[in-house]
Amino acid sequence: MTSLSPIAAKKSRHSKFLLIAGAGWLLAGCSATTLGNFPDTTDVVERADYIDRKPVPDLSDYQEAAQARIKELLARPLTVGSAVEIAMLNSPGLQEVYQKYQIWDEDLVAEMAEAAKKEADPNHTNMDWVAARLALMKSVNTVYRYDFPDEYFAVAEDFIETGEEVRKAYFEAVAAAQLQDMLEHAATATQAAAELANAQYEAGTANRRSQALQHMTHAEIVKALAEARLEAVVAREALNRLLVLWGDDVNWSAPETLPELPEARPAYEGLEEYALKRRLDVLSERKSWALWHTAVDVRSEVRENHAALLTRYDIAKYQRDTVLPLSAVVLEETQLEYNGMLMGIYDLIDDTRGQIEAGREYVEALRDFWIAEAELSQAVGGTLPN
């Protein structure tokens, strides 16, 4: 027990106060009086039917502004930040939340766009977190008196979870396209080998068996390429569904390559305490025994996800800084031997494919790194420390 955070050690009577203080990160920018007026959860039960009694507001202004912003974002190559922003604007589930809590309007669109522009690094834009923060600020400003903290946190959690899904789907989609593209190169290589085998057979320097073997090698790549093309479609459609895109909007482009691996190894200090102050499931937990259990789980999840992120980072870096240069040395030496007629053209083609394969493994490792980052980000409550 003593090793747990102060949150877990508090009695239920005090936990409400802590929750509100802990939620300060979401409410940054709100006035002190707003915070002071935060509802006391012990006496809001009688207002339980407030939301059902509210008039359903008109969404058309919001939707117009949101669609304009989405068009603007889709006109440029999609970044992970713009993808999350689109999901925040376009998700029917989230729109329902905006509507229910009356926090949607064209201002929300503009504020999110404004927040997105402030992010220097498009790969680290946590637009879900930005959206959650803005939405909660708005709800605090407008309807907090009649709202329920539990729902409040559940809604914010929806933002964070959707954001994580979008980020993962984005990296899957970009990686799948890149992997497919690289396999196209491998297919070009085996096709060249098969054509050489044809020419050899024509010239009488290779028999039909050798010719057939080169064609079989090419056939394997052709099949693998068909799979890769399908995987790219599947990944792209998964993202389209999360972004709720259809019609011409599905013709978005994305960068041809995944964002590069960060220079610094993302080893974070004090991440468990950081998460306990931000995880909405922790913040929303009132019963001390449940809070304690949640905190234990959160700490474990954070450790696991942090270890996963570091491992993914190390593997990607190893692939990039060690394996890729090694495959380059192999190919370079093969080229030198080909120059000297010490090795043949098929060796050169094989080692070209070897380097392409090493490159594909790097793309996979890099994709897994970014996915691990999205998972850790979610595990600590939506955004990693700077």
Binding site: T188, A192, L336, L342, I345
Partner: protein
Amino acid sequence: MNRRQFFTASGLGLAASAGLMSRAIAAPAEPESFADPATRQPLSADGRGYTPVVTLNGGSLPWRLNNGVKEFHLVAEPVQREFAPGMVVNCWGYNGSSPGPTIEVVEGDRVRIFVTNKLPEHTTIHWHGILLPSGMDGVGGLTQPHIPKGKTYVYEFTVRHSGTFMYHPHSDEMVQMAMGMMGMFIVHPRDGSRRVDRDFCFLLASWDIDPGTFTPNTAEMTDFNMWTFNSRAFPGIDPLVVRKGDRVRIRVGNLTMTNHPIHLHGYSFKITGTDGGWVPPSAQWPEVTADIPVGAMRAFEFVADVEGDWAFHCHKSHHTMGPMGHDIPNMIGVDQKKATPKIAKLLPDYMYMSMGENGMAEMQDMVAMGMSLPENTLPMMTGEGPFGPIEMGGMFTVLKVREDLAPGDYTDPGWYEHPEGTVAYEYKS
């Protein structure tokens, strides 16, 4: 080994050490280094009526006369040998060189050869073809203990027959010979007979040195990629320079694992000697190619009466090539223009060229264009002559016969200047 053999062997050992102790021998002379691969001037014959030999890209080991005994000092040691400019090989050899220096004596000489072992393992020296007491034959384990590393052994015998011989280890023999341990042992007739004007000698060796490596792979049995005269490959082999009218002898020893038909252009010659001795004139017949069997030596002679630059090489065409792939696809006549742009596009940083469609001569052009090869690797074919690329490698050099050459002058005279109208020319209608 049974009990009796054991005691016999021990007894012999004791007797041998007692014998050595009783024999007070002066310390061996400082060994002379032959690390420079340039062909040395022959030693002086001291008026003893013979023509000293010229060792291609090497030389003969000076001796010290000690109470009528010719003393030599060979040091077995790791050496670095330049096969040709651009390729240096980690060999084992003698006195800084592979092959070791030639030992050159006269029939009837008493010789004492100190052998110091600076190899990382034991060794011996076997005097190949020389008739001597069994205990001096240098077969480790059989006729003497192996010479441990760091130790010096003494071989001493009287040379009874003239001829062309070799020396090489008989101790981890496969490895040590594959690493380059060998040398010539030339014995001139005492009576001044069989004298020639120029007398050349060299040893044939084969090597498996993977492209980009520096040390021979001693485990290879058949698929060698380097073929050398005295551990030099064309264009690293010096020419055989001869004065017009000279009587010339060339002595070749074969320490590879295959035969080599050594072919001389421009002349027919007669094989006058083997490692078994001199061939009687009645048994000599004219040849232009001397096939040197494995583990054998041949001496052949001719009168160099026609000037020119005459190719002199092994007639196995793969042996006159530098390193090449023996497992590359056959591209003769293969139209590669469909595949070439695809491969070139995949390798944008590499100047890809299709090869082999019209033969392999383009290789020489690529070398001339400065095409890169793996480090420490000679091109498959190379060498620039007065009329263009020579497209050779390995066991190839040139016999240069010139009129205006002083006796005893072995300086490379440059390319032959052909008299007007004596060079093949293009037909023009």
